[in-house]
Symmetry: D3
Subunit: 130 residues, 6 copies
């Protein structure tokens, strides 16, 4: 797997790396971006979307990182669990919060399977709202 280091990066890639480090207030680039840098258009677009989506808004950054981690755990993406687990902890997730987060993820996957397998029809009360 080719990874493009900062010193070898063309200006277009280096600009993204600089923005990542500035935005996150860190001095290194994690492998996801170094790999994606082989396709500079994907690198730029993915970072721009991630930066916008994860910025504080109606939801705070910790909640957003925990949701990201929840999806990654459910999908079994090892890299994403490692990177977003680290990000969530940096944003304030305690071990107790992680334990409860995983419990909700596990339970949701269990009842998703039950609702689908039993073919539960949606309640009228839920339909009227959504």
């Amino acid at each position: 797997m080719k990874m493009i280091e900062y010193t070898d990066a063309p200006p277009r890639v280096r600009a993204v790396y600089d923005d990542i480090m500035r935005t996150r207030n860190i001095d290194w680039i994690n492998n996801f971006w170094k790999v994606l840098a082989s396709d500079p258009a994907s690198l730029e677009r993915t970072w721009a979307s991630l930066k916008a989506i994860m910025a504080p808004g109606a939801l705070d950054p910790l909640t957003k990182e925990m949701i990201y981690l929840a999806i990654s755990a459910s999908n079994g993406c090892g890299y994403c669990i490692a990177s977003h687990g680290a990000a969530a902890r940096k944003a304030g997730m305690s071990e107790a919060m992680f334990g409860e987060l995983m419990a909700v993820v596990g339970m949701a996957n269990e009842t998703n399977a039950l609702a689908q397998g039993w073919q539960v029809p949606v309640d009228e009360r839920f339909r009227s709202r959504s």
Copy 2:
């Protein structure tokens, strides 16, 4: 799909229905439980787990419902999106929060696929922690 109504429910099922209504402070039972009631052991166990997991703890109920909704959206479980979407709104999720929640879910699914497809190796810095 057979659904067991309160008036037709045997005592074991009725006890669960009563606890659901008391815990949630509502006066009706949604279809998921009425369908699952065909297997009383599953009904009891699933409700007991859900009640314990979704109670306030290190994470507040709104955050838990949003995580539940995030997993359900990612898995494409229509019933679960409807029921936990309603629960999250009742717990305080605004439309702006829902929009950001979905954006994070979408982004996580996108980058999960990218990290897997590009086969990104986990950074040593992430390994040392997790």
Copy 3:
């Protein structure tokens, strides 16, 4: 969605329909095959594989149908849950068996998510075997 009925089917498709009805000892064709018949090569290949895989062997037909149903429930494929649920019931699955089957499917999805999210390392004892 175009569906090819027996009377309109070309000989190549009709031969598959005849084999399905003979093998299953029934007098009708379910929609899956009528839709797939638009691509006769897929129809032939899919039926040939299904017929071979679902025949009695080291596992009996009921166990095979229940496994098929388990996967379909986990994947949330509505059509597959309906058709393989009917097949499993025809092969002898009782409602009590269905309830326990769904409980196992739900539990497996829950602990799959937990094992992935917590990133549990595989035990040496398990590695030596598999």
Copy 4:
């Protein structure tokens, strides 16, 4: 990844470990539980559910373990494939049975995708039942 060994476990965790070893008639604890023990409430709840669901009932333990393994293979959970593969073999699954099990899992994933991609409508005959 922190794992809590028996000798370091607080009483609440040790009680679960003891019940796991007694129920399974073994003298060691696999990593899943040692990792989950960081969140004792999750450990207790997950073990209690698993113990109840996997006990003999309308389905025998071998069938239950094979269904568990089928879901784990379909979800690509490496840890779960290793642990439930071992459990299924211990419960009597032969290599021939494993081969057929995997064939059914593969076929179900194939036709699930076909039924969804071709958007096959559910037959009236199936609807009337489920």
Copy 5:
């Protein structure tokens, strides 16, 4: 489900609708965008990414639409199968091509499950390359 029609759309949303219709050379907006318009930031970002990714490049638009459709079928997203099926047909996908596309999607899902369930180790020859 709230959908924002062109005539009711605020300028920010209308600008995206105009660009969608201009880019695709059509005179209507499909429901995906009308629903997403409830969150204008998501609407803008999602359209900008989709427009850039689906433009002709190293891959032609037909190939891109078929890949999009393949993922949607594999994930069982009904809306996405309908919309990207229509887009792929408009871009030149014949029924024979659709049949083969679905066959590949089905086969990939089958062998993905087999490779995971059998826990096949990656060949050294493949590692050296990727």
Copy 6:
């Protein structure tokens, strides 16, 4: 994991290995087949289906390999990404094509989640066609 080498293979397995090498014009067998050879019926059936499905038809081999790779990346099957990534490159996929392929796969997974989470109703215009 047991792998059956050519020199140790029984005639039934060797016949499949010979056909794989002849069809692909190579002189080695990758691990997937060596593992699957423990179940000769699965080996024969899986190879026969794969050979037929991946042959040139309405879609060319490169497009088929890229679709296979797209599904494998979306499912997170490491072995399949390695083997079909190699196959796609051998069939002519450039690094630029791979980058765009991954971008489409990522985007499709993102909008699949959005369409499901927002519960977008299918447009009448799409229904009339499919």
